[in-house]
């Protein structure tokens, strides 16, 4: 695991956690959480708040950040299990691919990829003040806004 990369993603996860804390509690009672994945190259978000018209109004997602911050996350991996109806609703907004293997590339089992591109994949990242530039929390906020 890369120390500096983990430092960067730890900041992002904490920033997402702060943002999640601004929302009301989930109807299911599940806590909203963001954490860096074990390899230090992705962030897991549990109970991401969705606009009111979605039921349930929360979603678990994974953001792959292996090339972050050079490249933003490319799309969003949504946990499918237990969210089939929700994922179908979201698929109305984005191209979405469930459990699909793409030729020689394995799918992420149990996840549906939503084709969401933030700022046309151009991120203005500010290393000395990440909250001033584009960051993963803003990516997620824009994703949620797009669903509204």
């Amino acid at each position: 695991m890369n120390y500096r990369k983990t430092q960067i993603l730890n900041w992002e996860a904490q920033n997402i956690q702060r943002w999640l804390g601004e929302f009301t509690e989930t109807t299911s009672g599940r806590p909203r959480r963001a954490r860096v994945g074990h390899s230090g190259e992705y962030i897991v978000v549990e109970a991401l708040p969705l606009p009111d018209r979605y039921r349930p109004d929360e979603l678990d997602v994974v953001l792959l950040l292996d090339n972050y911050p050079a490249l933003p996350p490319i799309g969003v991996y949504m946990l499918t299990q237990g969210n089939e109806a929700l994922v179908k609703q979201i698929a109305a907004h984005f191209y979405a691919y469930r459990d699909k293997a793409f030729h020689d590339a394995a799918a992420v089992p149990g996840y549906t990829w939503a084709c969401y591109h933030y700022q046309d994949n151009h991120m203005r990242y500010n290393a000395s003040a990440p909250n001033r530039g584009d960051n993963v929390q803003k990516f997620l906020a824009a994703f949620c806004a797009e669903l509204a």
Binding site: I74, Y77, K100, A105, N126
Partner: protein, 511 residues
Amino acid sequence: MDAHTRNVSLRFGATLYERMRAFHLAPGKAHESLSYAWARAEETAAGLRILLPDSSPYFPFSADCFTRQSAGNVQLRADVLNGMLAEFAATDFNCIVNVHDHWFAQEAHFSAVDDEDDARFDRYLREQFEPMLATYPHIGPARDIVNVSIVFAQQSLAARLTNTMHASCTAASTTAIELVTVLDNHWRTAPIVPAERTIAAVANDEERSRHAEFIPASTVNAIERVTVGLVGCGGLGSILAESLVRTGFRKFVLVDDDEIEATNLNRWQGGRLQDVGTQKAYTLAARMRGFATDVQVTAIATALDDDVALHALTGVDVLCGGVDNDAARWLLNHVSLQYMIPWFDAGVAITTAPAVDFASRYFSVLPGITGCAMCKGVDLIDHHEVVDEYADATTQRARRAAGYVIDQPLMVGTPSAYLLNQLAASSCAMEVLNYFAAWRPTATLIQKSWRADRIARADRENYAEVPSQSCALCSTYTGVGSALALPRRNRSVLSLFTSSQSPHEKEMSHG
């Protein structure tokens, strides 16, 4: 490699270098000063390279930080030193650079007192600091620390590595740093003691004699000493390589994983029928060795993102790109920034509509000085192509399935115009030479259109571009070396997750 025979070089950002000099050699100064910087030490194919970008943490200590400060001696307060080391421990920097001055001297030399001080500090690092990091990982990552000392005098500096673990009865514990480069608008080395080795008898060498009339001896010496990393040995790269050798460059690393095909012979410089089927890198290297008696070429016939190729390239002094795709340029941009290597790129394009035009483009990236290829204010790299190439394999396929594909129907994919390649290679080689000779401001972008008969040239005088603060690459990656991994293509998405764990743990078990 033994600590005493290894090749060690140091690479400064110009702003940091000038800041250090100004602090240590301020006019009217009458006492010795001490400062520290944190750096990255990288094992490259060319030896150990110390990277000191402008963003390096730098601590020029004021008078109240010392217990003693006189004309020829200075001692830092223990609490100040310990405070700095505690902060250092919590980072992933692996090199401490301590800097002091002999402001009263013209030429820099380490004194016997310096020897004692450096050895004492190094013993502390080896016997207490490193073991502490190994024992208490919550303080900071365990790592070997590279201990560098610099002494400034009015006309020169001396720099060395100290490692008392390598000391023996017969060998000293220090290694002199033989090359200090300052990344600036032109190639620049700091005057060091002992002086850089020079190439002897340049003027008498018949192979170089006609150059001596217009290329200064100092430039000849510099270009013969540096190693050029040439990526792309195709139609453009083969001309560029020959141009650089005949200009006077002597050391090269070539990278290309392609073979010469019959269809390449209409543009591959010097290509012959019997070369078809051979590796471009190997065949080009063999040709280059025949151009002059002392050409040294390392040929690597792998993809650019192969470990062997990348390791070799991190040790070069100058990068030249003759590639035909933006995914490779994006990776070169990373190598250039992360390892602080000036990069000069040549490219060509032929458009067929509305009318045929032959266009060539050159640009340079001087890390920390100019914008990188992503933030120059001109679209040099197709971002969509980069995203497509460097996404993990699953995401890449999903994007393509969703209709995100690169399509440039009006461009000829691989222009087979030898004459156009000559134009682009010539322009690039000229600018590389100018970077060393400093005849005119270094060009940062040149675009030529044959049809419009137009040449647009931006340089360090007429267009003062700087790295963008909002550029993810410039702000995050400049001078970080291997502290951040270079991007890789075709990564399996599953490789990002540990084998037994899933993003949401148990939820993955059904898959």
